[in-house]
Amino acid sequence: MTKHINKQILFRLLLVLLLSVLAVGLGYSVLSLPLEASGLSARVTENLDASGVSHPVTAVLLNFRAYDTLLEMAVLLLALLGVWSLGDMHEHRESAPGVVLDMLSRLLIPLFVLVAGYLLWIGANAPGGAFQAGSVLAAAGVLMLLTGWRPSVWFMGLPLRITLVFGLVAFVTAAVMVQLAGWRMLEFPLSVAGALILLIEAAATLSIGITLAALFLGSRPPTDQATGKRTGPGAKK
């Protein structure tokens, strides 16, 4: 018995030693970086007027490096497809929420939606945008799912899938339309850049929010009448 414990302690000591070497190496390389490096901020500031929005992070996300964001939307969708393809999980036991949680969630959900809309709108010239708004929307969805609410069965079929791909489809459509109009792919002409970015962000917010909430739900939701027992708002187990 003591031999095994000794072996374990030895293993951990060796691990700590190796990881200290890793930490020192990483720390050294961080500290050896120049004290001041403006990176790409100067170039972003120079071109900010051409982006259609006035907040640099939103400009980078939706205009200068729109490819990243486009592919990131695809990754989100792929993760959900991965979860759905794992098949049905066995039903987890849920307890009915208390009266306070039930009432509070009903009061809070509209506030969540309001905050999400605000974050989406403010993203053009202050910190905010599609990801933040989508996360808030997802938080609202998770809260609703935790308090026992389930979307109605008709929404679980085609409408849910359309909402999930809406952001990606809007993004790709915008990119292709711009290309057909004579610009390069994902190059937004200044006259419509602001409107296009807001449109893409609105679609992305909805899709991100619903996708994250669907990820929280776990397995693919039942679509037929037979398995979808709990429907409608307030239906509890």
């Binding site: 095994h4 072996k7 374990q8 293993f11 951990r12 691990l15 700590v16 990881l19 200290s20 890793l22 930490a23 990483l26 720390g27 961080v30 500290l31 970086l33 120049p34 004290l35 001041e36 490096a37 403006s38 990176g39 790409l40 901020s41 972003v44 500031t45 640099p56 992070v57 400009a59 980078v60 996300l61 200068f64 490096r65 990243d68 964001t69 990131e72 990754v75 989100l76 993760a79 959900l80 991965g82 979860v83 794992l86 098949g87 999980m89 066995h90 945008g129 990801f131 933040q132 989508g134 996360s135 991100i208 996708t211 994250l212 990820l215 929280f216 776990g218 397995s219």
Partner: protein, 101 residues
């Protein structure tokens, strides 16, 4: 020392702690959490090093981190779903620990 480097070094520390937990713990949930801590460390390094400018911080790493956070959430969700599936299939949620056998 510059405050940006202090945060970056904290990020390095978080990353290393995450690697330690990833290796030591056998419970899959702890491993997933450890990977998340590692990711947070990387995000912290990126955001901290973006602040080494005269005026406003470099927005490009910030945009990368925002994208990264959402990808990390979805990857975590997928990992958790895989973990639950594994538990359903095998009734095990921990990897065999050879160091204590």
């Amino acid at each position: 020392m510059n405050i940006a480097f202090f945060y970056a070094l904290t990020g390095v520390g978080l990353f290393t702690l995450g690697v330690y937990a990833l290796i030591v713990y056998t419970h899959l949930l702890r491993k997933i959490l450890a990977i998340n801590v590692m990711g947070s460390g990387v995000f912290l390094v990126l955001v901290a090093l973006a602040a080494r400018t005269q005026n406003a911080p470099d927005p490009v790493p910030h945009a990368m981190v925002i994208t990264g956070i959402v990808v990390a959430i979805s990857a975590t969700a997928l990992a958790l779903a895989l973990m639950l599936r594994l538990r359903d299939a095998s009734n095990h949620i921990e990897l065999p620990d050879e160091s204590v056998e």
